[in-house]
């Protein structure tokens, strides 16, 4: 179930809120409070734009419990425009094949079913190909 855990992470899950280092300006996601660039404390919140590109990816057929119902699914390392890389599922691709360098943007989707009788559903970020207009 883990309700407190998912509640605690809602800013990250729903709005990609990370941090920016006040010392060296490095943008940080996921938040970690110590800047990986300069080693100083970094607690200033920073909301990422949700834009980025696929850095690497794969498709999984043998899923962990809680994810079986959506198998197969594609997971990517997405390099955000602001710098950091984030791990996320890709969605809304239709017939479009995944490629390294493909521009993507964040959307909010169902992440997993906890699968117990209370049926808690976890929502969070996934990425989809940038819609062409």
């Amino acid at each position: 179930m883990e309700i407190p855990r998912h509640w605690r992470l809602k800013k990250q899950r729903y709005a990609l809120v990370g941090e920016v280092c006040p010392h060296c300006e490095k943008k940080i996601f996921p938040p970690r409070d110590i800047c990986p660039n300069c080693g100083n404390e970094a607690r200033d919140l920073f909301a990422f734009s949700g834009k980025g590109e696929v850095y690497s990816y794969t498709t999984i057929y043998e899923a962990p419990s809680g994810y079986d119902s959506t198998t197969p699914y594609t997971v990517a390392l997405v390099k955000l425009d602001e710098g950091p890389i984030v791990t996320a599922q890709l969605t809304d691709q239709g017939e479009q094949p995944t490629e390294i360098g493909m521009p993507v943007e964040m959307v909010t989707r169902k992440m997993r079913d906890d699968g117990d009788e209370r049926g808690m559903i976890v929502y969070g970020y996934k990425f989809r190909p940038v819609l062409k207009n």
């Binding site: 690497s56 794969t58 962990p64 890389i85 984030v86 791990t87 992440m111």
Partner: protein
């Protein structure tokens, strides 16, 4: 300070042991190692295990195994570092004996994968990554490795079956190891035509997880039993380092800094050079990790690790023999027990008892036990000492 010797080794075959429970597996390896060491009894047990609390609903392995082995009264604890648990337990045993506070230590690696099946096992394995930012996205170790391999292929110019050499070498060596899970070899055609399981990996790029237990008796050189093996093996280097837990936090996705640090420090302890190393037991849970291990330790330049395998340099009679008893791919991959299996196999090589798999005149082995995609690296150097 006295040398730390590995004077007894024991192991069970790696397999799907449906009929053997966690405690029985552990006891088989413990009994085997104590017997091999001439019957000396340990004062402490260091256990490398990753998933027993999850897959077997069993924590507190120290008390369980000491009790079940008739060794109550001694000290016994579990050491956990994902798939590097075995190497991490060996390091704790080494530190204990080297310090002089423990005279004889038993290092046990044990993993029971088959108490659960399918998606429950994948969910358990996923706990070795970052729960909040990787596992929640449906990421498992297979996903991490496949994304690493995808990027490697993207950045480096290589043939489509460039990774085949790792599986071919491992399976060839598996044919000569009676305790290996796969002993019938593998042909290139089978590799090349295998279905992709997690693009770009196929089934032969993924080591088969199974059950197993292996054990070592560590003691000081001045306490060796009266009927020791003619060729004794000592621990000539030991080191461990960690990197970021999550793959996405790496500065460089294609370089295992923790492996480089652990190997470098272990070698520096007695000034061992790369050319002194006769065999390298790497952590080939996935082909890509074998390639990156060769590059991170320095046996290959970046982007060329796969080439050592493709050109036969890692075979038994090659420049740097790897996975000499089948590696994780063919001997089988018993999770957190793996690092102890590697040590058992290296001792067999250094004693000159490896049969058709014998590396000629082997006197120095490098072991790499790895957790996650290079998140933990534990390295040991074993060398011979005639008595």
């Amino acid at each position: 300070m006295e040398d730390v010797m590995i004077t007894g080794v024991g192991q069970t075959p790696v397999a799907e042991h449906w009929d053997i429970g966690l405690r029985d597996l552990a006891f088989a390896a413990i009994q085997d190692a104590i017997h091999d060491a001439g019957g000396i009894k340990p004062q402490a047990i260091y256990i490398g295990n990753m998933l027993a609390p999850n897959l077997s609903n069993q924590a507190h392995l120290g008390a369980l195994f000491a009790d079940f082995s008739g060794l109550t009264g001694i000290e016994a604890v579990t050491v956990e570092a994902a798939d590097a648990s075995g190497g991490a337990a060996l390091r704790q045993g080494y530190l204990a004996v080297k310090s002089g506070l423990v005279q004889t230590a038993l290092v046990l690696g044990v993993e029971k994968m088959t108490d659960k099946i399918g998606s429950s096992v994948q969910a358990a394995l996923a706990t070795t990554g970052d729960a909040d930012y990787e596992a929640v996205q449906g990421v498992t170790p297979t996903v991490q490795a496949a994304m690493t391999m995808q990027r490697y292929i993207h950045e480096h110019d290589m043939p489509i079956d460039g990774f085949a050499g790792f599986a071919l070498t491992a399976h060839k060596n598996g044919t000569g190891n009676p305790d290996a899970m796969y002993r019938s070899g593998l042909q290139l055609e089978a590799y090349s035509s295998a279905e992709k399981t997690s693009d770009p990996m196929n089934i032969y790029d993924v080591a088969p997880r199974a059950d197993g237990a292996a054990a070592l008796i560590l003691t000081r050189s001045d306490l060796l039993p009266s009927n020791p093996h003619e060729m004794q093996v000592r621990i000539a280097g030991s080191s461990s380092a960690v990197d970021t837990l999550a793959l996405h936090d790496r500065k460089d996705l294609l370089y295992f800094e923790a492996v480089q640090l652990a190997a470098g420090k272990a070698m520096k302890q007695e000034g061992v050079l790369l050319e002194d190393i006769d065999l390298f037991e790497y952590h080939d849970s996935f082909s890509i990790y074998a390639a990156l291990a060769l590059e991170s330790v320095g046996f290959a330049i970046r982007g060329k690790g796969w080439k050592l395998a493709a050109e036969g340099e890692i075979s038994i009679d090659g420049r740097i023999p790897c996975a000499t008893m089948g590696g994780l791919k063919a001997r089988g991959f018993p999770g957190g027990a793996t690092g102890v299996y590697q040590a058992v196999e290296a001792v067999i090589q250094l004693r000159g008892n490896a049969g058709v798999n014998q590396v000629k005149d082997a006197s120095c082995a490098l072991l790499l036990s790895m957790g996650g995609p290079g998140s933990t690296g534990v390295c040991h150097i074993l060398r011979t000492r005639r008595v």
